[in-house]
Amino acid sequence: MVRVGFQNLKNKGVEILSIISALVIWQLIAVYVVQNKFFLPSFTDVSLAFVSVVSRQVDFPLSFLSFSMDIPLPVLVVDLLFSMMHFLIGLIAALAIGMPVGMLMGWFRSVDRIFDPLIEIVRPIPPLAWIPFAIIWIGLNPFGAGFVIFIGALFPIIINTFTGFKNIPRIYVEAAKVLGCNTDRDLIRQVALPSALPSIVAGVRIAMGVGWMCLVAAEMFGVSKNGLGFKIWHHYYLHNMDFVLVYMLVLGFLGLLIDRLLRYYLEGRFLKWRTGVVM
Protein backbone atom coordinates (compact mmCIF):
# COMPACT_ATOMS: atom_id res chain seq x y z
CA MET A 1 0.00 0.00 0.00
CA VAL A 2 2.69 2.46 1.04
CA ARG A 3 4.83 1.22 -1.79
CA VAL A 4 2.08 1.70 -4.33
CA GLY A 5 1.56 5.24 -3.03
CA PHE A 6 5.26 5.89 -3.29
CA GLN A 7 5.31 4.52 -6.83
CA ASN A 8 2.47 6.86 -7.77
CA LEU A 9 4.33 9.81 -6.33
CA LYS A 10 7.39 8.83 -8.28
CA ASN A 11 5.39 8.64 -11.51
CA LYS A 12 3.96 12.10 -10.83
CA GLY A 13 7.44 13.55 -10.28
CA VAL A 14 7.20 16.21 -12.97
CA GLU A 15 3.76 17.40 -11.85
CA ILE A 16 4.81 17.65 -8.20
CA LEU A 17 8.00 19.45 -9.11
CA SER A 18 5.99 21.92 -11.17
CA ILE A 19 3.74 22.82 -8.24
CA ILE A 20 6.63 23.09 -5.78
CA SER A 21 8.61 25.34 -8.13
CA ALA A 22 5.61 27.61 -8.59
CA LEU A 23 5.21 27.93 -4.82
CA VAL A 24 8.92 28.69 -4.34
CA ILE A 25 8.93 31.31 -7.10
CA TRP A 26 5.77 32.89 -5.63
CA GLN A 27 7.36 33.04 -2.18
CA LEU A 28 10.60 34.55 -3.50
CA ILE A 29 8.83 37.18 -5.59
CA ALA A 30 6.52 38.14 -2.75
CA VAL A 31 9.28 38.41 -0.13
CA TYR A 32 12.15 39.86 -2.15
CA VAL A 33 10.65 41.59 -5.19
CA VAL A 34 7.23 42.94 -4.25
CA GLN A 35 7.90 43.28 -0.52
CA ASN A 36 4.36 44.41 0.10
CA LYS A 37 1.88 42.12 1.84
CA PHE A 38 -1.07 44.13 0.54
CA PHE A 39 -0.01 43.86 -3.07
CA LEU A 40 1.05 40.23 -3.06
CA PRO A 41 0.80 38.14 0.10
CA SER A 42 3.45 35.42 0.22
CA PHE A 43 2.82 31.71 0.38
CA THR A 44 3.60 31.71 4.10
CA ASP A 45 1.21 34.63 4.74
CA VAL A 46 -1.54 32.73 2.98
CA SER A 47 -0.74 29.52 4.86
CA LEU A 48 -0.96 31.36 8.19
CA ALA A 49 -4.24 32.94 7.15
CA PHE A 50 -5.52 29.50 6.22
CA VAL A 51 -4.55 28.12 9.65
CA SER A 52 -6.35 31.04 11.23
CA VAL A 53 -9.66 30.47 9.38
CA VAL A 54 -9.51 26.78 10.15
CA SER A 55 -8.69 27.13 13.83
CA ARG A 56 -10.95 30.08 14.77
CA GLN A 57 -14.43 28.91 15.64
CA VAL A 58 -17.77 30.62 15.28
CA ASP A 59 -21.30 29.50 16.04
CA PHE A 60 -23.16 27.95 13.18
CA PRO A 61 -26.88 28.57 13.62
CA LEU A 62 -28.47 25.26 12.80
CA SER A 63 -32.23 25.30 12.74
CA PHE A 64 -34.55 22.59 11.59
CA LEU A 65 -38.28 23.22 11.92
CA SER A 66 -38.78 24.29 15.54
CA PHE A 67 -35.47 22.84 16.64
CA SER A 68 -32.54 25.23 16.62
CA MET A 69 -29.12 25.42 18.19
CA ASP A 70 -25.72 26.99 17.67
CA ILE A 71 -22.86 24.66 16.88
CA PRO A 72 -19.31 25.97 17.16
CA LEU A 73 -17.46 25.28 13.90
CA PRO A 74 -14.30 26.63 12.22
CA VAL A 75 -14.92 29.85 10.25
CA LEU A 76 -13.99 28.25 6.96
CA VAL A 77 -16.42 25.37 7.46
CA VAL A 78 -19.27 27.78 8.24
CA ASP A 79 -18.49 29.78 5.09
CA LEU A 80 -18.37 26.56 3.15
CA LEU A 81 -21.74 25.42 4.43
CA PHE A 82 -23.36 28.73 3.55
CA SER A 83 -21.85 28.69 0.06
CA MET A 84 -22.93 25.11 -0.52
CA MET A 85 -26.44 26.07 0.52
CA HIS A 86 -26.58 28.95 -1.99
CA PHE A 87 -25.04 26.74 -4.65
CA LEU A 88 -27.42 23.85 -4.09
CA ILE A 89 -30.51 26.08 -4.05
CA GLY A 90 -29.53 27.42 -7.46
CA LEU A 91 -28.48 24.11 -8.91
CA ILE A 92 -31.48 22.11 -7.74
CA ALA A 93 -33.87 24.78 -9.05
CA ALA A 94 -32.02 24.79 -12.38
CA LEU A 95 -32.27 21.01 -12.62
CA ALA A 96 -35.94 20.96 -11.64
CA ILE A 97 -36.84 23.50 -14.32
CA GLY A 98 -34.15 23.02 -16.95
CA MET A 99 -34.43 19.27 -17.42
CA PRO A 100 -38.18 19.08 -18.05
CA VAL A 101 -38.05 22.11 -20.34
CA GLY A 102 -35.12 20.69 -22.32
CA MET A 103 -36.81 17.29 -22.55
CA LEU A 104 -40.12 18.67 -23.79
CA MET A 105 -38.36 20.94 -26.28
CA GLY A 106 -36.31 18.05 -27.57
CA TRP A 107 -39.27 15.72 -27.89
CA PHE A 108 -42.07 17.97 -29.13
CA ARG A 109 -41.35 20.22 -32.07
CA SER A 110 -44.09 22.66 -31.06
CA VAL A 111 -42.67 23.15 -27.55
CA ASP A 112 -39.29 23.83 -29.13
CA ARG A 113 -40.81 26.51 -31.35
CA ILE A 114 -42.56 28.16 -28.40
CA PHE A 115 -39.58 28.22 -26.02
CA ASP A 116 -36.64 28.57 -28.37
CA PRO A 117 -37.01 32.28 -29.27
CA LEU A 118 -37.55 33.23 -25.63
CA ILE A 119 -34.54 31.27 -24.48
CA GLU A 120 -32.33 32.66 -27.19
CA ILE A 121 -33.21 36.20 -26.11
CA VAL A 122 -32.79 35.67 -22.37
CA ARG A 123 -29.75 33.39 -22.52
CA PRO A 124 -27.09 35.94 -23.54
CA ILE A 125 -27.92 38.16 -20.53
CA PRO A 126 -25.04 37.57 -18.09
CA PRO A 127 -26.31 35.98 -14.86
CA LEU A 128 -24.82 38.81 -12.81
CA ALA A 129 -27.02 41.34 -14.60
CA TRP A 130 -29.94 39.70 -12.82
CA ILE A 131 -28.67 40.73 -9.37
CA PRO A 132 -30.87 43.85 -9.04
CA PHE A 133 -33.98 41.84 -9.80
CA ALA A 134 -32.80 39.04 -7.56
CA ILE A 135 -32.76 41.56 -4.71
CA ILE A 136 -36.12 43.11 -5.58
CA TRP A 137 -37.98 39.88 -6.32
CA ILE A 138 -36.48 37.60 -3.74
CA GLY A 139 -34.62 39.81 -1.30
CA LEU A 140 -31.41 39.58 0.68
CA ASN A 141 -31.64 35.96 1.68
CA PRO A 142 -30.06 32.68 0.58
CA PHE A 143 -32.67 32.31 -2.14
CA GLY A 144 -31.62 35.62 -3.66
CA ALA A 145 -28.09 34.28 -4.08
CA GLY A 146 -29.50 30.97 -5.25
CA PHE A 147 -31.45 32.79 -7.96
CA VAL A 148 -28.31 34.20 -9.57
CA ILE A 149 -26.69 30.75 -9.55
CA PHE A 150 -29.93 29.33 -10.92
CA ILE A 151 -29.79 31.69 -13.91
CA GLY A 152 -26.19 30.70 -14.58
CA ALA A 153 -26.86 26.96 -14.34
CA LEU A 154 -30.24 26.88 -16.10
CA PHE A 155 -29.21 27.34 -19.73
CA PRO A 156 -26.44 24.75 -19.97
CA ILE A 157 -28.88 22.22 -18.51
CA ILE A 158 -31.70 23.14 -20.91
CA ILE A 159 -29.44 23.17 -23.94
CA ASN A 160 -27.65 19.91 -23.22
CA THR A 161 -30.86 18.10 -22.35
CA PHE A 162 -32.38 19.41 -25.56
CA THR A 163 -29.36 18.35 -27.63
CA GLY A 164 -29.35 14.92 -26.01
CA PHE A 165 -32.99 14.47 -26.92
CA LYS A 166 -32.48 15.70 -30.47
CA ASN A 167 -29.66 13.22 -31.03
CA ILE A 168 -31.43 10.07 -29.93
CA PRO A 169 -30.70 7.49 -32.65
CA ARG A 170 -33.98 6.88 -34.46
CA ILE A 171 -33.37 3.15 -34.47
CA TYR A 172 -33.86 2.96 -30.68
CA VAL A 173 -37.17 4.76 -30.85
CA GLU A 174 -38.36 2.51 -33.69
CA ALA A 175 -37.15 -0.62 -31.92
CA ALA A 176 -39.07 0.43 -28.82
CA LYS A 177 -42.19 1.14 -30.88
CA VAL A 178 -42.28 -2.28 -32.51
CA LEU A 179 -41.78 -3.82 -29.07
CA GLY A 180 -45.00 -2.19 -27.89
CA CYS A 181 -43.69 1.01 -26.29
CA ASN A 182 -45.88 3.55 -28.03
CA THR A 183 -46.91 6.46 -25.82
CA ASP A 184 -44.79 9.61 -25.59
CA ARG A 185 -44.50 9.15 -21.86
CA ASP A 186 -43.12 5.62 -22.13
CA LEU A 187 -40.83 6.48 -25.02
CA ILE A 188 -39.35 9.44 -23.12
CA ARG A 189 -38.87 7.42 -19.96
CA GLN A 190 -37.67 4.18 -21.49
CA VAL A 191 -35.69 5.34 -24.49
CA ALA A 192 -35.07 9.07 -24.73
CA LEU A 193 -33.95 9.71 -21.18
CA PRO A 194 -31.39 6.89 -20.92
CA SER A 195 -30.14 7.60 -24.41
CA ALA A 196 -29.72 11.32 -23.68
CA LEU A 197 -28.21 10.84 -20.23
CA PRO A 198 -24.56 11.27 -21.27
CA SER A 199 -25.41 14.63 -22.78
CA ILE A 200 -27.50 15.64 -19.76
CA VAL A 201 -24.68 14.75 -17.36
CA ALA A 202 -22.27 16.81 -19.45
CA GLY A 203 -24.73 19.71 -19.21
CA VAL A 204 -24.93 19.37 -15.42
CA ARG A 205 -21.14 19.53 -15.26
CA ILE A 206 -21.06 22.71 -17.31
CA ALA A 207 -23.92 24.12 -15.24
CA MET A 208 -22.08 23.42 -12.00
CA GLY A 209 -19.03 25.17 -13.39
CA VAL A 210 -21.00 28.25 -14.41
CA GLY A 211 -22.97 28.25 -11.15
CA TRP A 212 -19.76 28.09 -9.17
CA MET A 213 -18.43 31.09 -11.10
CA CYS A 214 -21.56 33.04 -10.16
CA LEU A 215 -21.18 32.22 -6.48
CA VAL A 216 -18.77 35.04 -5.55
CA ALA A 217 -20.92 37.72 -7.13
CA ALA A 218 -24.11 36.18 -5.79
CA GLU A 219 -22.85 36.42 -2.22
CA MET A 220 -21.37 39.86 -2.77
CA PHE A 221 -24.59 41.80 -2.37
CA GLY A 222 -25.03 40.93 1.26
CA VAL A 223 -27.33 37.94 1.40
CA SER A 224 -25.61 36.66 4.54
CA LYS A 225 -22.64 37.32 6.77
CA ASN A 226 -20.98 34.07 5.72
CA GLY A 227 -20.00 32.37 2.49
CA LEU A 228 -16.78 31.92 0.55
CA GLY A 229 -17.64 34.64 -1.96
CA PHE A 230 -18.87 37.04 0.69
CA LYS A 231 -15.63 36.61 2.66
CA ILE A 232 -13.53 37.62 -0.33
CA TRP A 233 -15.19 41.04 -0.33
CA HIS A 234 -15.30 41.25 3.44
CA HIS A 235 -11.52 40.75 3.71
CA TYR A 236 -10.91 43.04 0.76
CA TYR A 237 -12.61 45.88 2.65
CA LEU A 238 -10.40 45.04 5.64
CA HIS A 239 -7.33 45.01 3.37
CA ASN A 240 -6.52 41.45 4.43
CA MET A 241 -5.31 40.32 1.04
CA ASP A 242 -3.83 37.10 2.43
CA PHE A 243 -7.33 36.07 3.53
CA VAL A 244 -8.73 37.07 0.15
CA LEU A 245 -6.25 34.72 -1.47
CA VAL A 246 -7.11 31.89 0.93
CA TYR A 247 -10.77 32.11 -0.04
CA MET A 248 -9.90 32.35 -3.72
CA LEU A 249 -7.85 29.17 -3.50
CA VAL A 250 -10.55 27.38 -1.51
CA LEU A 251 -13.09 28.30 -4.21
CA GLY A 252 -10.78 26.89 -6.84
CA PHE A 253 -10.05 23.64 -5.06
CA LEU A 254 -13.66 23.12 -4.12
CA GLY A 255 -14.79 23.66 -7.70
CA LEU A 256 -12.29 21.05 -8.82
CA LEU A 257 -13.39 18.62 -6.13
CA ILE A 258 -17.09 18.99 -6.94
CA ASP A 259 -16.42 18.38 -10.61
CA ARG A 260 -14.36 15.26 -9.91
CA LEU A 261 -16.93 13.86 -7.48
CA LEU A 262 -19.70 14.38 -9.98
CA ARG A 263 -17.71 12.73 -12.72
CA TYR A 264 -16.87 9.64 -10.76
CA TYR A 265 -20.24 9.31 -9.10
CA LEU A 266 -22.59 9.96 -12.01
CA GLU A 267 -20.52 8.33 -14.69
CA GLY A 268 -19.79 5.28 -12.57
CA ARG A 269 -23.39 4.88 -11.63
CA PHE A 270 -25.45 5.79 -14.67
CA LEU A 271 -23.10 5.61 -17.61
CA LYS A 272 -21.42 2.26 -17.08
CA TRP A 273 -22.89 1.03 -20.35
CA ARG A 274 -20.94 3.64 -22.25
CA THR A 275 -17.54 2.15 -21.46
CA GLY A 276 -16.14 1.06 -24.75
CA VAL A 277 -18.63 3.11 -26.72
CA VAL A 278 -17.25 6.62 -26.56
CA MET A 279 -14.73 7.31 -23.89
Partner: protein, 252 residues
Protein backbone atom coordinates in the same frame (compact mmCIF):
# COMPACT_ATOMS: atom_id res chain seq x y z
CA UNK B 1 -52.48 -16.64 -36.81
CA UNK B 2 -50.24 -14.56 -39.00
CA UNK B 3 -51.91 -14.02 -42.35
CA UNK B 4 -50.61 -10.85 -43.97
CA UNK B 5 -52.45 -9.18 -46.85
CA UNK B 6 -50.97 -6.21 -48.62
CA UNK B 7 -53.59 -4.55 -50.80
CA UNK B 8 -52.73 -2.09 -53.50
CA UNK B 9 -50.05 -0.30 -51.50
CA UNK B 10 -48.20 2.71 -52.92
CA UNK B 11 -45.71 4.93 -51.14
CA UNK B 12 -44.27 8.20 -52.37
CA UNK B 13 -41.46 10.13 -50.69
CA UNK B 14 -41.87 13.86 -51.16
CA UNK B 15 -38.77 15.92 -50.56
CA UNK B 16 -40.08 19.20 -51.94
CA UNK B 17 -42.54 20.19 -54.64
CA UNK B 18 -40.22 19.18 -57.45
CA UNK B 19 -38.46 16.06 -56.17
CA UNK B 20 -40.63 13.08 -55.44
CA UNK B 21 -39.69 9.45 -55.45
CA UNK B 22 -42.22 6.76 -55.98
CA UNK B 23 -40.85 3.96 -53.82
CA UNK B 24 -43.67 1.44 -54.12
CA UNK B 25 -46.40 1.17 -56.70
CA UNK B 26 -49.55 -0.93 -56.40
CA UNK B 27 -48.21 -3.81 -54.34
CA UNK B 28 -50.62 -6.71 -53.83
CA UNK B 29 -49.40 -9.63 -51.80
CA UNK B 30 -50.92 -12.42 -49.72
CA UNK B 31 -48.79 -14.24 -47.17
CA UNK B 32 -50.01 -17.46 -45.61
CA UNK B 33 -49.81 -18.18 -41.91
CA UNK B 34 -46.49 -19.77 -40.95
CA UNK B 35 -44.97 -18.99 -44.30
CA UNK B 36 -41.34 -17.94 -44.77
CA UNK B 37 -41.16 -15.25 -47.45
CA UNK B 38 -38.10 -13.40 -48.70
CA UNK B 39 -38.17 -10.00 -50.42
CA UNK B 40 -35.40 -9.47 -52.89
CA UNK B 41 -34.70 -6.78 -55.42
CA UNK B 42 -32.19 -4.19 -56.57
CA UNK B 43 -31.14 -1.70 -53.95
CA UNK B 44 -33.52 1.21 -53.49
CA UNK B 45 -36.48 -0.77 -54.81
CA UNK B 46 -38.62 -0.19 -51.73
CA UNK B 47 -38.47 -3.64 -50.13
CA UNK B 48 -37.47 -2.15 -46.79
CA UNK B 49 -40.21 0.47 -47.16
CA UNK B 50 -42.79 -2.27 -47.63
CA UNK B 51 -41.51 -4.04 -44.52
CA UNK B 52 -41.73 -0.81 -42.55
CA UNK B 53 -45.29 -0.29 -43.77
CA UNK B 54 -46.22 -3.80 -42.63
CA UNK B 55 -44.62 -3.12 -39.24
CA UNK B 56 -46.61 0.10 -38.91
CA UNK B 57 -43.54 2.35 -38.69
CA UNK B 58 -44.42 3.87 -42.05
CA UNK B 59 -47.83 4.54 -43.58
CA UNK B 60 -48.73 3.98 -47.22
CA UNK B 61 -50.06 6.84 -49.32
CA UNK B 62 -52.52 4.49 -50.87
CA UNK B 63 -53.72 0.99 -50.05
CA UNK B 64 -53.90 -0.98 -46.86
CA UNK B 65 -52.21 -3.78 -44.97
CA UNK B 66 -54.14 -6.33 -42.96
CA UNK B 67 -52.98 -8.96 -40.54
CA UNK B 68 -55.71 -11.55 -39.99
CA UNK B 69 -58.23 -9.04 -41.38
CA UNK B 70 -57.14 -6.37 -38.93
CA UNK B 71 -55.94 -3.14 -40.50
CA UNK B 72 -52.49 -1.95 -39.48
CA UNK B 73 -52.27 1.66 -38.40
CA UNK B 74 -49.40 1.74 -35.90
CA UNK B 75 -46.55 -0.47 -34.68
CA UNK B 76 -47.58 -3.18 -32.27
CA UNK B 77 -46.15 -6.11 -30.35
CA UNK B 78 -47.85 -8.70 -32.58
CA UNK B 79 -45.35 -7.88 -35.29
CA UNK B 80 -41.77 -8.35 -34.18
CA UNK B 81 -39.01 -6.65 -36.08
CA UNK B 82 -35.28 -7.22 -36.40
CA UNK B 83 -33.38 -4.32 -37.94
CA UNK B 84 -30.31 -4.27 -40.11
CA UNK B 85 -28.51 -1.85 -37.78
CA UNK B 86 -27.76 -2.93 -34.25
CA UNK B 87 -30.84 -1.84 -32.39
CA UNK B 88 -30.25 -3.20 -28.89
CA UNK B 89 -30.56 -0.55 -26.19
CA UNK B 90 -26.93 -0.01 -25.18
CA UNK B 91 -27.89 1.09 -21.67
CA UNK B 92 -29.66 -2.19 -20.92
CA UNK B 93 -28.05 -5.55 -20.31
CA UNK B 94 -28.88 -8.44 -22.66
CA UNK B 95 -31.61 -9.86 -20.43
CA UNK B 96 -33.11 -6.40 -19.80
CA UNK B 97 -33.27 -5.88 -23.56
CA UNK B 98 -35.14 -9.16 -23.98
CA UNK B 99 -37.68 -8.46 -21.23
CA UNK B 100 -38.36 -4.94 -22.53
CA UNK B 101 -41.25 -5.97 -24.78
CA UNK B 102 -43.06 -8.21 -22.28
CA UNK B 103 -42.64 -5.56 -19.56
CA UNK B 104 -44.19 -2.95 -21.84
CA UNK B 105 -47.06 -5.40 -22.29
CA UNK B 106 -47.58 -5.50 -18.54
CA UNK B 107 -45.83 -8.76 -17.65
CA UNK B 108 -44.14 -8.65 -14.24
CA UNK B 109 -40.37 -8.50 -14.25
CA UNK B 110 -40.07 -11.86 -12.54
CA UNK B 111 -42.23 -13.71 -15.08
CA UNK B 112 -40.57 -11.90 -17.97
CA UNK B 113 -37.15 -12.96 -16.73
CA UNK B 114 -38.15 -16.63 -16.69
CA UNK B 115 -39.49 -16.39 -20.24
CA UNK B 116 -36.50 -14.40 -21.45
CA UNK B 117 -34.12 -17.12 -20.30
CA UNK B 118 -35.88 -19.52 -22.66
CA UNK B 119 -35.45 -17.20 -25.62
CA UNK B 120 -31.81 -16.61 -24.81
CA UNK B 121 -31.36 -20.36 -24.68
CA UNK B 122 -33.03 -20.63 -28.07
CA UNK B 123 -30.39 -18.32 -29.55
CA UNK B 124 -27.61 -19.84 -27.45
CA UNK B 125 -26.68 -16.82 -25.37
CA UNK B 126 -27.75 -17.77 -21.85
CA UNK B 127 -24.28 -17.15 -20.44
CA UNK B 128 -24.22 -13.59 -21.77
CA UNK B 129 -27.48 -12.49 -20.18
CA UNK B 130 -25.82 -9.92 -17.90
CA UNK B 131 -23.47 -8.53 -20.55
CA UNK B 132 -24.00 -5.14 -22.15
CA UNK B 133 -24.43 -4.88 -25.94
CA UNK B 134 -21.02 -3.26 -26.45
CA UNK B 135 -19.44 -6.42 -25.07
CA UNK B 136 -21.03 -8.62 -27.77
CA UNK B 137 -19.96 -9.39 -31.32
CA UNK B 138 -22.15 -8.39 -34.26
CA UNK B 139 -23.61 -11.87 -34.65
CA UNK B 140 -24.40 -12.08 -30.94
CA UNK B 141 -26.12 -8.70 -31.04
CA UNK B 142 -28.41 -9.87 -33.83
CA UNK B 143 -29.12 -13.08 -31.94
CA UNK B 144 -30.21 -11.02 -28.94
CA UNK B 145 -32.29 -8.83 -31.24
CA UNK B 146 -34.06 -11.97 -32.51
CA UNK B 147 -34.63 -13.18 -28.95
CA UNK B 148 -35.97 -9.75 -28.02
CA UNK B 149 -38.41 -9.80 -30.95
CA UNK B 150 -39.52 -13.35 -30.13
CA UNK B 151 -40.07 -12.55 -26.43
CA UNK B 152 -43.22 -10.65 -27.41
CA UNK B 153 -44.54 -13.86 -29.01
CA UNK B 154 -45.31 -12.16 -32.31
CA UNK B 155 -47.36 -13.78 -35.05
CA UNK B 156 -45.29 -12.16 -37.75
CA UNK B 157 -41.54 -11.63 -37.61
CA UNK B 158 -40.26 -8.90 -39.89
CA UNK B 159 -36.57 -8.99 -40.65
CA UNK B 160 -34.82 -6.18 -42.51
CA UNK B 161 -31.51 -7.57 -43.81
CA UNK B 162 -30.71 -8.70 -40.28
CA UNK B 163 -27.55 -10.56 -41.28
CA UNK B 164 -26.37 -7.99 -43.81
CA UNK B 165 -23.57 -6.64 -41.64
CA UNK B 166 -22.23 -10.05 -40.58
CA UNK B 167 -19.40 -12.10 -41.99
CA UNK B 168 -20.20 -15.09 -44.24
CA UNK B 169 -19.68 -17.86 -41.67
CA UNK B 170 -21.71 -16.16 -38.97
CA UNK B 171 -24.39 -15.46 -41.51
CA UNK B 172 -24.65 -19.09 -42.57
CA UNK B 173 -24.96 -20.34 -39.02
CA UNK B 174 -27.54 -17.68 -38.14
CA UNK B 175 -29.61 -18.61 -41.20
CA UNK B 176 -29.59 -22.18 -40.00
CA UNK B 177 -30.58 -21.14 -36.46
CA UNK B 178 -33.34 -18.92 -37.77
CA UNK B 179 -34.87 -21.81 -39.70
CA UNK B 180 -34.86 -24.04 -36.66
CA UNK B 181 -36.47 -21.30 -34.55
CA UNK B 182 -39.10 -20.73 -37.24
CA UNK B 183 -39.87 -24.46 -37.30
CA UNK B 184 -40.25 -24.57 -33.50
CA UNK B 185 -42.43 -21.48 -33.22
CA UNK B 186 -45.71 -20.64 -34.89
CA UNK B 187 -44.41 -17.75 -36.97
CA UNK B 188 -44.83 -16.04 -40.30
CA UNK B 189 -41.45 -14.65 -41.33
CA UNK B 190 -40.91 -11.80 -43.77
CA UNK B 191 -37.27 -11.46 -44.60
CA UNK B 192 -35.74 -8.65 -46.67
CA UNK B 193 -32.39 -9.50 -48.20
CA UNK B 194 -30.13 -8.48 -51.05
CA UNK B 195 -28.53 -11.92 -51.19
CA UNK B 196 -29.97 -14.43 -53.64
CA UNK B 197 -28.18 -17.25 -51.79
CA UNK B 198 -29.81 -16.27 -48.55
CA UNK B 199 -33.27 -16.10 -50.11
CA UNK B 200 -32.91 -19.49 -51.79
CA UNK B 201 -31.66 -21.12 -48.60
CA UNK B 202 -34.42 -19.71 -46.40
CA UNK B 203 -37.64 -19.02 -48.22
CA UNK B 204 -40.86 -20.84 -49.02
CA UNK B 205 -41.57 -18.10 -51.50
CA UNK B 206 -39.36 -15.39 -52.92
CA UNK B 207 -40.89 -12.07 -53.96
CA UNK B 208 -38.77 -10.35 -56.57
CA UNK B 209 -39.14 -6.56 -56.86
CA UNK B 210 -38.50 -4.37 -59.88
CA UNK B 211 -36.17 -1.39 -59.77
CA UNK B 212 -37.73 1.85 -58.54
CA UNK B 213 -40.66 2.35 -58.51
CA UNK B 214 -40.89 -0.98 -56.72
CA UNK B 215 -43.44 -3.39 -58.16
CA UNK B 216 -43.64 -7.12 -57.82
CA UNK B 217 -41.78 -8.63 -60.77
CA UNK B 218 -42.24 -12.26 -59.97
CA UNK B 219 -43.13 -14.51 -57.06
CA UNK B 220 -41.04 -17.67 -57.07
CA UNK B 221 -42.15 -20.68 -55.09
CA UNK B 222 -39.24 -22.67 -53.65
CA UNK B 223 -40.14 -26.34 -53.46
CA UNK B 224 -36.75 -27.66 -52.44
CA UNK B 225 -37.11 -29.69 -49.20
CA UNK B 226 -35.23 -28.53 -46.09
CA UNK B 227 -32.51 -28.80 -44.98
CA UNK B 228 -31.30 -27.41 -48.26
CA UNK B 229 -27.91 -28.08 -49.66
CA UNK B 230 -26.44 -24.70 -50.60
CA UNK B 231 -24.67 -26.17 -53.63
CA UNK B 232 -27.12 -28.72 -55.00
CA UNK B 233 -28.26 -28.71 -58.64
CA UNK B 234 -31.78 -27.46 -58.00
CA UNK B 235 -30.57 -24.69 -55.67
CA UNK B 236 -28.13 -23.56 -58.34
CA UNK B 237 -30.79 -23.65 -61.03
CA UNK B 238 -33.02 -21.42 -58.93
CA UNK B 239 -30.16 -19.07 -58.08
CA UNK B 240 -29.37 -18.79 -61.74
CA UNK B 241 -32.95 -17.88 -62.55
CA UNK B 242 -33.13 -15.27 -59.78
CA UNK B 243 -29.78 -13.73 -60.64
CA UNK B 244 -30.95 -13.34 -64.22
CA UNK B 245 -34.12 -11.57 -63.10
CA UNK B 246 -32.09 -9.35 -60.82
CA UNK B 247 -29.59 -8.33 -63.47
CA UNK B 248 -32.45 -7.46 -65.83
CA UNK B 249 -33.63 -4.99 -63.21
CA UNK B 250 -30.21 -3.62 -62.42
CA UNK B 251 -29.60 -2.78 -66.06
CA UNK B 252 -32.67 -0.61 -66.24
Amino acid sequence: MGRVSVRNVSRKFVKDEVTQTLALENIDLELEDKEFVCFIGPSGCGKTTLLRIISGLDTPDQGEVFIDNEKITSPGPKRGMVFQEYSLFPWKSVIDNVIFGPQMGGVSKKDAMVEAEKYLELVGLTQFKDSYPHELSGGMKQRVAIARALANEPEVLLMDEPFGALDAQTRNSLQHELLSIWQKKHLTVLFVTHSVDEAVYLADRIVMFTARPGRIKEVVKVDIPRPRDRTSMEVNRLRNHLLKLLSEEQQK
